[in-house]
C-alpha cells in the first residue's frame, strides 16, 4: 500500500481504494497541512468510514432515548450496561457483519459472533448468551441454501467452541437480500457492578499492552469495505474478510477475565473494526490522553507488512489494553498461562496525540482529535416515490379464495413461518445450564447461576420486519420494538432495555435517508412509550449491489431493516409461560383487539401477489395497557399459554400453539362470529401484528378465578373473548378451516 501514490492528481483512484470522498480528502489535507501519505490516509479512511464514524447517522442517533433508572452505561462504550440488582449487571449489544458474510459466509458470520462477544468481555462481563438475526435472499434463489448453511455453520462454529449458548434468533428470506444478506449478532454478558471495565480510564504513564493473536494481512480495510456498496466483482474483496479462531478467543476470554479479576487492567478495548487504529485512537480520545505506539513491538504473522497495514489489519482475537507499569509482570504471567501474546507496545502520554515509532525511529505523529473527530453529515432526505402507491387496502376488491384451507397451508409452510428448528439445533443452546426456554418460542428465558439471584431471570428477543418498514418506515421501526416487547411479555417478563442494529442501503440516496430517519423516529417513539432505552447499537449502511441488467446497471437495495434486540426481566423463571397449548380441553381466548387489516400481509403476497398496502399503525398507549394486562394475568398464574399474533396472523398463532408442544400434537376448534365486527374470514385469520394475544386457560378455572380474570381485563380496559377450545389432532375454525394437525406439523417442520 505504501507504493500507492496518494498525490492530488490521483484523487480519483485514491477515492476508490480508500472510500473517501474528494471533499473528505481535501479536508484531511487541510487538517494535516499536507497531502496525506499512505499511512495517514489509511488511518483517516478507516476512522472516517461510515462504519467507525457513524457520519451519516450520528445526528439522528443522538435523539434516541438512552437513559433510564436501570441504565448504568448507555451508548459510547463497547456495549451498554443495565442494572440487574443484587450487585449484578447485564452488558449487551448487537452488531452487524453483513458485508463480510456476503463475501465469505462462514468466516463472515463466525467473526461477527467473535467480534460481538469481545465487545462484551472487554467490559469485564462473561458472555452468557448469543442471539442472531439473519436475512437471506429468496428461499428459491439458487445461492440461498449455500448462504444459509454456511452462515449457520459459522455462527455455531464460533459460539459453540466459546461455550456460549445461542438461545434464539430469527431467520427471514426475501428476494431483497439476494445480493446483500444480513448477519446481525447479539451477545449478553453478566458482571459484578463494581467489575465493569471501560476504555476511558487511561492515565499518563500507564503502559499500552497488546494481547492475543498476532497481526496478519486478514481483514485489511474491513471497515472501509463495510462502508461501500458491492459491485459485480465482489470476489476481489475476499481478502478484506477476517478469519476467526474461536479457540484463541476462548483463551483470550479466560485470560482477560482473570486479569480483570486480579485488577491488573486500567482500560481495555477490543481490536475490532479498523484494529489497532480504532482501539488506540478511541481509547486515547475517550480518556482525554495520547499514546506512544511502538510499531516494532507489534506481534506479527508476517514480516511482509507495512506500518499502514499493521494499523489497518483486522486480524481477530486481539485486544489493546492499558495497565499500570507495576502490574505488567503479573499481567504477563496471566497471559503466559493461557499461551497468549502479551507485549508492551507503548505508553500513555499527556499530549493528545499518537506518536508512532517504527524501526526505532519516530515515524509519524497524529493528533487524536484530528483523526477521531470525523465528519458529521446531515444528508439530504426525500420521501421515496414508491410510498405514494402504498395505500390502505380495500379487501372487497379481492375475490375470496375458494379454498381457505389451501391458503392456510401455504402460509404455515412458507419459509418465513415454518420452523427453524434445523437451524437452532446446530447451535449449542444448553451449555451454561441456564436456558429455561430454548430457542424457537416467543423469547429465550435464562436464569442466572452462581449468584444470589435466586429465581430471578432475564429474557431475550430479537425482532425486525423489513417488509413493514418498507411499506411504512415509522410503523416498521415502532413495530420492531413493540414485537420484541410482545414476545417478552408473552413469557411473563418486563421489557427493560434495547440495542438496535440498523441495516439500510446507501445513505447518499435521499430516499434511503428518509427511510432511515423515519424508522428511527418509530423506534424512538416506541422505546419512549415502552420505557426501554437504547443502550447500544450499530448502523450498517450501503447494503446494496449494482447489477448489470442487459446494458443497464441497476442498484438493488435491501428493504430498510431495523432490528431490535431486547432484554427483559422476570422475577421467577419457574413462572415463565410458553406459547404452546398444554392440554386438551383448555379454553382459548383472544386478549386485545383486532384490526382485520390485511395490508402488507403474507396472505396478500401469497394469494394475490400484491402486498403494497399500508400496514396498521400501532396505538402505543393501548399497547402498554394490553401488555400490562397480559403480564398481570401471567403473574397471577391464570394462563397456561400466551402467544402474540405476528406474521401469518391468528391462524399461524393457533397452529403453532398446537404443534410446537414438545410431547404431544394438539389442535383446536375455534368458532368466532367475525361478521359481527364486519370483517371477512380471511381478515380474521391472516391479518398480522394485531394488538392482541392468543391465550389458553384451564377449563377447570373456578368461578372466583374467572371473575378475577375478567376484573383484571376490565381494570386495564382490554377485551377478552373466548373463541374455542384446545383439541387433539384437528384444526377447525368456523366452517372454513378444517385441517389435520399431523399434516400441518409435518409441513411446518420439514420446510427448512
Amino acid at each position: 500500500m505504501d507504493n500507492v501514490s496518494a498525490k492530488k492528481n490521483d484523487t480519483k483512484k485514491t477515492e476508490k481504494l480508500f472510500g473517501l470522498s474528494a471533499e473528505e480528502y481535501s479536508k484531511i489535507s487541510e487538517l494535516l497541512g499536507h497531502e496525506p501519505d499512505a499511512f495517514e490516509l489509511g488511518i483517516f479512511s478507516a476512522m472516517w468510514s461510515e462504519h467507525c464514524s457513524y457520519k451519516s447517522s450520528k445526528v439522528y442517533l443522538k435523539t434516541l432515548p438512552t437513559e433510564g433508572s436501570k441504565v448504568l452505561i448507555g451508548p459510547g462504550e463497547n456495549a451498554g450496561v443495565v442494572d440487574f440488582g443484587d450487585g449484578d449487571v447485564l452488558v449487551f449489544k448487537m452488531e452487524s457483519h453483513n458485508h463480510p458474510s456476503f463475501i465469505e459466509p462462514f468466516q463472515g458470520s463466525a467473526t461477527g459472533v467473535g467480534g460481538i462477544m469481545r465487545d462484551i468481555f472487554t467490559m469485564g462481563a462473561r458472555p452468557v448468551a448469543n442471539l442472531n438475526s439473519l436475512r437471506f435472499g429468496s428461499f428459491s434463489h439458487p445461492r440461498t441454501p449455500y448462504y444459509l448453511s454456511e452462515v449457520v455453520k459459522g455462527i455455531g462454529f464460533y459460539g459453540n467452541c466459546m461455550g456460549v449458548p445461542t438461545v434464539g434468533g430469527e431467520v427471514v428470506f426475501d428476494e431483497c437480500y439476494n445480493d446483500n444478506i444480513l448477519v446481525n449478532a447479539f451477545t449478553i454478558g453478566i458482571a459484578k457492578k463494581d467489575g465493569i471495565f471501560l476504555s476511558s480510564k487511561c492515565e499518563e504513564g500507564n503502559i499500552v499492552v497488546y494481547v492475543g493473536s498476532s497481526t496478519g494481512m486478514d481483514g485489511m480495510h474491513g471497515a472501509t469495505m463495510a462502508s461501500e456498496e458491492f459491485d459485480l466483482k465482489k470476489n476481489k474483496k475476499r481478502s478484506t474478510v477476517q478469519v476467526g479462531d474461536p479457540f484463541t478467543e476462548k483463551l483470550l476470554l479466560e485470560a482477560c477475565l482473570e486479569a480483570m479479576e486480579k485488577k491488573l487492567i486500567v482500560s481495555i478495548q477490543d481490536m475490532g473494526a479498523a484494529g489497532l487504529t480504532s482501539s488506540s485512537f478511541e481509547m486515547a480520545d475517550s480518556s482525554g490522553k495520547g499514546m506512544i505506539i511502538n510499531l516494532d513491538a507489534v506481534p506479527l504473522r508476517t514480516s511482509e507488512i507495512t506500518p499502514a497495514e499493521m494499523m489497518l489489519s483486522e486480524s481477530q482475537e486481539r485486544m489493546l489494553l492499558v495497565c499500570g507499569r507495576d502490574k505488567f509482570d503479573e499481567l504477563k504471567a496471566v497471559f503466559d498461562k493461557w499461551g497468549l501474546n502479551c507485549v508492551e507496545v507503548g505508553e500513555v502520554i499527556k499530549e493528545k496525540e499518537i506518536r508512532f515509532f517504527y524501526k526505532s525511529k519516530p515515524y509519524k505523529t497524529l493528533g487524536v482529535n484530528t483523526v477521531v473527530k470525523g465528519p458529521e453529515y446531515k444528508r439530504p432526505v426525500k420521501k421515496p416515490k414508491y410510498l405514494n402507491s402504498v395505500k390502505p387496502l380495500n379487501i372487497d376488491n379481492y375475490k375470496i379464495p375458494e379454498n381457505i384451507n389451501d391458503a392456510a397451508f401455504k402460509i404455515i409452510t412458507h419459509p418465513n413461518i415454518a420452523s427453524k428448528k434445523s437451524v437452532f439445533t446446530q447451535y449449542d443452546y444448553t451449555i451454561g445450564t441456564a436456558t429455561i426456554v430454548p430457542p424457537g418460542f416467543s423469547a429465550a428465558v435464562l436464569r442466572v447461576n452462581g449468584s444470589g439471584a435466586g429465581k430471578k431471570g432475564f429474557l431475550l428477543n430479537v425482532s425486525g420486519n423489513s417488509k413493514y418498514t418498507y411499506l411504512d418506515p415509522f410503523t416498521g421501526g415502532a413495530l420492531a420494538v413493540t414485537e420484541c416487547a410482545r414476545n417478552i411479555t408473552a413469557c411473563g417478563g418486563y421489557p427493560a432495555a434495547i440495542t438496535d442494529c440498523l441495516n439500510f442501503a446507501s445513505p447518499e440516496d435521499p430516499e434511503v435517508m428518509w427511510q432511515f430517519v423515519n424508522a428511527l423516529e418509530g423506534i424512538k417513539s416506541a422505546a419512549l412509550k415502552l420505557n426501554t432505552p437504547v443502550i447500544s447499537g450499530n448502523v450498517s449502511f450501503y447494503n446494496e449491489t449494482a447489477k448489470k441488467d442487459g446494458d443497464k446497471t441497476t442498484v438493488h437495495k435491501i428493504y430498510p431493516t431495523p432490528v431490535i434486540g431486547m432484554l427483559g426481566f422476570i422475577d421467577d423463571v419457574e413462572k415463565a409461560v410458553t406459547p404452546y397449548f398444554k392440554s386438551e380441553g383448555d379454553e382459548i381466548y383472544i386478549l386485545g383487539r383486532l384490526s382485520g387489516n390485511l395490508g402488507g400481509s403474507l396472505y396478500m403476497d401469497l394469494e394475490y401477489g400484491n402486498f403494497m398496502q399500508k400496514p396498521s399503525e400501532i396505538d402505543l398507549d393501548y399497547e402498554i395497557r394490553l401488555q400490562n394486562c397480559l403480564r398481570s394475568l401471567i403473574n397471577k398464574g391464570f394462563l397456561k399459554s400466551a402467544s402474540d399474533i405476528s406474521e401469518g396472523g391468528i391462524f399461524v398463532s393457533l397452529a403453532e400453539s398446537a404443534i410446537t408442544c414438545p410431547n404431544q400434537t394438539l389442535g383446536f376448534a375455534v368458532n368466532c362470529d367475525t361478521s359481527k365486527s364486519g370483517v371477512r374470514i380471511e381478515s380474521f385469520l391472516f391479518s398480522e401484528f394485531e394488538q392482541a394475544f392468543i391465550i389458553s386457560v384451564d377449563k377447570k378455572l373456578s368461578g372466583p378465578q374467572k371473575t378475577a380474570v375478567s376484573e383484571i381485563c376490565a381494570e386495564y380496559g382490554i377485551k377478552l373473548e373466548k373463541i374455542g377450545d384446545v383439541k387433539k389432532g384437528i384444526m377447525k375454525i368456523n366452517d372454513k378451516i378444517d385441517l389435520k394437525s399431523d399434516k400441518i406439523k409435518e409441513g411446518y417442520f420439514s420446510v427448512i
Binding site: 455453520k153 455455531g156 459453540n160 467452541c161 466459546m162 461455550g163 479462531d245 474461536p246 479457540f247 484463541t248 476462548k250 483463551l251 493461557w338 499461551g339 437452532f424 439445533t425 446446530q426 447451535y427 449449542d428 443452546y429 444448553t430 451449555i431 451454561g432 445450564t433 436456558t435 429455561i436 436464569r447 447461576n449 452462581g450 423463571v573 419457574e574
Partner: protein
C-alpha cells in the same frame, strides 16, 4: 458419609468449556467437594480424588482431531495412572473423545452422519447397571439428556464391538421415548446406537450426552443426575 467429603477432580484443558457447569452441578446440586485440575498440574498423584471428570468442550480447539491433543497433555498421564489403579473416571462429550484418543476406551468418534453440530434432547437406554456410573439405576431405565456435539458418531472395528458386547461394556444406547433402539432415534450415526461405553473393569466411562445439563427439573430433565447419584452411591458403599 457426608457428600461434602467426596472429592471430585475436573480436568481443565485450554478450550474446555463444560468445566464450570460440571463444577457447579457437583458442588451446588449434589453438595460434593469438586475442584479443577489445570492441564499443567504438577501433582502427579491424583489419588486424593474420589473420582475424576473430564468435561466437554473444544479442548485445543478440536485441532488435529477432537480430543487428540488433550489426550497427549501431561495431566492425562496422571489420569491414566489413576484409572489403571481402578480410579473412577467419567468422560463427557469431548471428555469421551479424549478417553478414546488416550486409549483408555476403545473405538473412535467420527463426524455426525448429518455432518452438522447437533444440539437436542435424546433418550438413553441403560444396558448395564453394574458400574459405578449406573449402580443407582435399574436395568433398561430410560434417561432424557441433551447432546451437543459435532463428532459423536461412534465407530469401532468388528472385533472391538464384539468385545464390548461380550464384556457387557456398552452402558448406554440411544433409543426413542419408549425405549426402542431405532435408527431414527440415533442422533449421530453411532454404530449400534452406542452412546456410552466403559472399560472392561467398569471404572472408566465415556458418554456423549451431558448429565450435568440434565440434573435439575427446571432445565427439563433430572435424569442425568442419576449418573452422579450412582457415583456417589458407589463411593459411599465401597
Amino acid at each position: 458419609m457426608n457428600n461434602k467429603k467426596i472429592k471430585a477432580g475436573i480436568t481443565v484443558f485450554p478450550g474446555s468449556n463444560c468445566d464450570a457447569d460440571v463444577y457447579r452441578v457437583l458442588n451446588e446440586v449434589f453438595g460434593l467437594s469438586a475442584s479443577f485440575i489445570w492441564h499443567k498440574n504438577k501433582i502427579k498423584d491424583l489419588g486424593g480424588y474420589d473420582f475424576i471428570v473430564i468435561p466437554g468442550g473444544f479442548s485445543y480447539g478440536d485441532y488435529l482431531r477432537s480430543g487428540a491433543l488433550a489426550a497427549r497433555s501431561p495431566v492425562m498421564e496422571y489420569v491414566k495412572d489413576y484409572a489403571y489403579k481402578g480410579g473412577i473416571v467419567l468422560g463427557i462429550c469431548n471428555g469421551f473423545q479424549i478417553l478414546l484418543e488416550a486409549g483408555l476406551l476403545s473405538g473412535v468418534m467420527l463426524t455426525n452422519d448429518s455432518l452438522k453440530f447437533e444440539c437436542k434432547d435424546v433418550y438413553l437406554k441403560t444396558l448395564n447397571t453394574e458400574t459405578p456410573f449406573t449402580c443407582a439405576l435399574k436395568k433398561d431405565s430410560l434417561l432424557k439428556m441433551p447432546i451437543a456435539h459435532h463428532d459423536g458418531n461412534y465407530f469401532a472395528e468388528k472385533k472391538i464391538i464384539e468385545s464390548l458386547n461380550h464384556k457387557n461394556t456398552v452402558i448406554f444406547k440411544y433409543c426413542d421415548e419408549n425405549g426402542a433402539i431405532t435408527e431414527i432415534s440415533n442422533p449421530n450415526g453411532s454404530m449400534y446406537n452406542i452412546a456410552g461405553i466403559s472399560n472392561e473393569n467398569g471404572n472408566i466411562m465415556g458418554l456423549m450426552p451431558h448429565p450435568e445439563r440434565s440434573s435439575e427439573k427446571i432445565l427439563g430433565s433430572e435424569d442425568g443426575g442419576y449418573i452422579f447419584q450412582s457415583i456417589i452411591k458407589y463411593i459411599k458403599e465401597r
